[in-house]
């Protein structure tokens, strides 16, 4: 077992499966298809900030695609 970060709201737990820079990559514990990318708020760890637009979404996804290292998990 491994201790991982989780964000909870509306009776759902979202697992933090990756974090690159400010970007948080989250997956619903009950439904792993339910994925989202958010930005952390450096002042409030409970706030999940939205991405600005499609460009930032593509950028964050590319960042994950290029940097995620499975062997380090």
């Amino acid at each position: 077992m491994q201790e991982i970060d989780v964000y909870s709201w509306d009776d759902n737990n979202y697992i933090l499966f990756s974090k690159i820079g400010r970007y948080l990559y989250l997956s619903n514990e009950k439904n792993p298809r339910d994925i989202m990318i958010r930005k952390e708020d450096s002042n409030d760890p409970d706030l999940l900030l939205p991405l600005d637009d499609d460009n930032e979404f593509n950028k964050a996804l590319e960042l994950f695609y290029n940097n995620a290292k499975v062997d380090e998990i």
Binding site: D5, I15, P32, R33, D46, L51, D52, L61, Y65, I73
Partner: protein, 234 residues
């Protein structure tokens, strides 16, 4: 926790709705409760692997587009880059290099006069190739020879704060891509015109094509008839 002891089911490529992911990522700020949870390591690995696989699939198009755009820009600026490379000369003591900016500026002016390159592409190519602080004098010398003023003055005359203005870089790249599309459109039009002209210039060829078409049609009809006959015979 899941019934399977906290191991989420693995996700297949087709199962992730990336438009939904994009929308969820851009919604309102979420006020969540941050905590910790114990989960099997394989569960996280599974999610990461699944998302990696599907993300590559989803990103395919945008990565391809970016690659293509960058290739078009490279091709449009190649003539300037080649000039700069050709006139980068080794110093007499072989310890360094210097740019023959006068020759580059003159050659670039010729290219602008003959219309082989437009002003914006030339300014973009020179300023992005010679963007280090120590190359600024050479860049300005090239601008002055080819475009009549130094780089920042040229940029200000075109509505930018200076040659380093990111808006200039972005808009120049867009113009290069637009130029490429216009040229491609013209080329397609010309190709169509050449085909039509060839046909008018060679009426025999056109007639021969028409006969061939008729022959194929006849054969097709014959085959259809044969098949029809065969079917009757069955």
């Amino acid at each position: 926790m899941n019934n399977n002891g906290g191991i989420p089911n693995f996700v297949h490529n087709k199962d992730i709705d990336w438009d939904a992911v994009r929308r969820a990522s851009q919604g309102k700020t979420i006020h969540a409760k941050h905590g910790k949870l114990n989960l099997k390591k394989v569960a996280i690995t599974g999610i990461v692997l699944s998302v990696l696989g599907t993300a590559g699939y989803y990103l395919g198009k945008s990565v391809y587009d970016r690659h293509t755009e960058s290739k078009i820009i490279d091709e449009a600026t190649e003539v300037v880059n080649d000039l700069i490379t050709d006139y980068t000369i080794r110093t007499a003591d072989n310890n360094g290099f210097y740019l023959n900016d006068q020759a580059i500026g003159n050659k670039l002016k010729d290219l602008l006069t003959t219309g082989e390159i437009d002003e914006v592409t030339a300014a973009y190519a020179v300023s992005t190739r010679l963007d280090d602080a120590y190359e600024k004098d050479e860049m300005n010398n090239i601008f002055e020879r080819a475009l009549g003023v130094d780089a920042d003055t040229w940029a200000r005359e075109h509505g930018y704060s200076g040659i380093d203005d990111p808006d200039f870089t972005k808009e120049a790249e867009m113009q290069i891509l637009r130029n490429y599309e216009v040229e491609n459109y013209k080329k397609e039009e010309t190709d169509d015109y050449v085909v039509e002209t060839t046909r008018v210039d060679n009426p025999e060829e056109q007639q021969s094509d028409e006969l061939n078409t008729m022959f194929v049609d006849d054969n097709t009809n014959a085959n259809v008839n044969d098949n029809a006959k065969g079917m009757v015979g069955r």
